[in-house]
Symmetry: C2
Subunit: 338 residues, 2 copies
Amino acid sequence: MGMREIAKIAGVSSATVSRVIHGSNLVKPDTAEHVRRIIAEMDFFPDNNASSLKSGRSSIYGVIIPDITNPFFPEFVKSFENIVVESNQELLVANTDLYATRIQQSIRRMLMRKVDGVALLASEVETEPIESLIKNRTPLVTMDRRKVGPGLSDVAVNCSEGMEQAIRYLKEQGHRKIAYIGGRTGITISDHRLASFKQALKNASIPLRTEFIRVGDYRIAGGEFAMAELLALQDKPTAILTANDLTAMGSLRAIREGGYSVPGDFSVIGFDDIEMSDIVSPALTTLRLSRPDLAKTFFHALERANEGTGEMGRQYSVKTTLVIRNSTARAKRSAERR
Amino acid sequence: MGMREIAKIAGVSSATVSRVIHGSNLVKPDTAEHVRRIIAEMDFFPDNNASSLKSGRSSIYGVIIPDITNPFFPEFVKSFENIVVESNQELLVANTDLYATRIQQSIRRMLMRKVDGVALLASEVETEPIESLIKNRTPLVTMDRRKVGPGLSDVAVNCSEGMEQAIRYLKEQGHRKIAYIGGRTGITISDHRLASFKQALKNASIPLRTEFIRVGDYRIAGGEFAMAELLALQDKPTAILTANDLTAMGSLRAIREGGYSVPGDFSVIGFDDIEMSDIVSPALTTLRLSRPDLAKTFFHALERANEGTGEMGRQYSVKTTLVIRNSTARAKRSAERR
DNA sequence: GTGAAAGCGCTAACAA
DNA sequence: TTGTTAGCGCTTTCAC
């Protein structure tokens, strides 16, 4: 069952059928209507592979994420998929499981499918795989790499504003000893968040203590481990900022295990505002990074790149806002007792 | 850059290049090696659309899930993707967001891409969309629909065994008043779980109380609401089984909100064993449904259907096992006091 | 072992 | 407004 047969039944040419399917206005309404009826009757649908072969475009966007097990990403994918499907396109999702090598594989596979663009949210990325995308003139939009080029755009997560808010808020609550549990260094996304944290401290005239800077892995286990280290300190912090909510949840866990309470003994602030944040106990104060906004921005950047081909990419930015829940409170006069 | 050009450079025909790429053993090793080198040098990769068009197969499997926000599904997708990518195929994931209408859309889109098979984990499924798959001879494997046919297989979740275990365990712990929070009725998956629960109670000679049977929605909110109803009962249960872990977490929440404790006042058992189960507090006792096993079974069923085309589908089954953590304990002499 | 050639189903430029 | 036609890049007989 191909367009040819539909054409025969309808008494038109396959070109007309194609036009009808694509809603061309060069077809007489009557004819179009007639053809549409036949299509419906025969329950016909076109072969996408053939169109892609012909046109070189596939109406597929690729998304590469590092860890589908981190709720932030499914939530992003969901938002993104809604937008993409809305415009009759499709999503090819690849999860790299945090292996940098799998990024290359994924990109390669997407290139073979002639995707119309790639949203790359896995930040542990080397330059090589990106080049193959550029070379094949496939638009790429990255997250928080802060580099643009021809066909290469970036969506930065503007955390400095949020961090400022968070630090200011903590300061108002009487906190002066503020720790940070980040992600592996060397990854731009981690570096930027840490830098924003330091800057925010500075702006608030709060001294930075190196022993208060710890490294996690964006997962619960990492947050738990890093928090345990913090708890082992003689002079403990009274508040902890984290690079993402999972890290914050790990901290919560370590604090509980250590026999302390949140927000009684420690205030904890997450990052992302995944759905779970509102559900754990205590509900997490966090810096919200809106998934719908992020998805919209990625989509927009991709669309744009697809119109003006070869055009220079842009630097986009989405911001974060502080959402106050129950994991933060006034600092105790002395959190060190006990 | 197509096979033609590679062929020219290598001084062979495009047919030979194609053979080399597919590892055909009809090519002289020397020639093959030579061609491979050129391919690597030129960084060539074939156009999948062209192959699919020619062969009618795409090396893509489709997966349709109801709610990407429920960690069970990302965890399944991850396992499934690993297997699929291993065998040089790909995954097209569609999330229906619990809208039955989106299942049809998804299937249609997959049909247009000529997927080699569809794994359908969204259970709220009518017969119509399935038929279009069958008609197009695209293998389909469903979860817990318990119906098979030509090109249609099913993977049943054998929960009866697990339920028996759970009830037996609770009975040993002194529980006699056991409630169940399930999913919307009418969905086979919900019906089966409920039926297994009832059967298990019967086998353990524990009376079934209708007011102890509640309906959730496989999400935290539903579990919370249903548990609140249970708490409002004069004569409360002492243990609660749930249709999935999210429901169980909702119960935990309602119990905490109600001023009770787990497992002090109530024992709670989940279903699935999502990663979070081990992380919430208290860690959840649950019936584990192994994602890797489930993924393997789906893949196997799909592969099988793809070999013997038009063959009759099979009924597969994966089992569940009780994982005991901290949300269950001995029943109090009287849980009703207070 | 290797090459020539005929399409797979669709699109788009051109013709009518 | 509609039809004709030439491929898109690959696979796969069939012939050598």
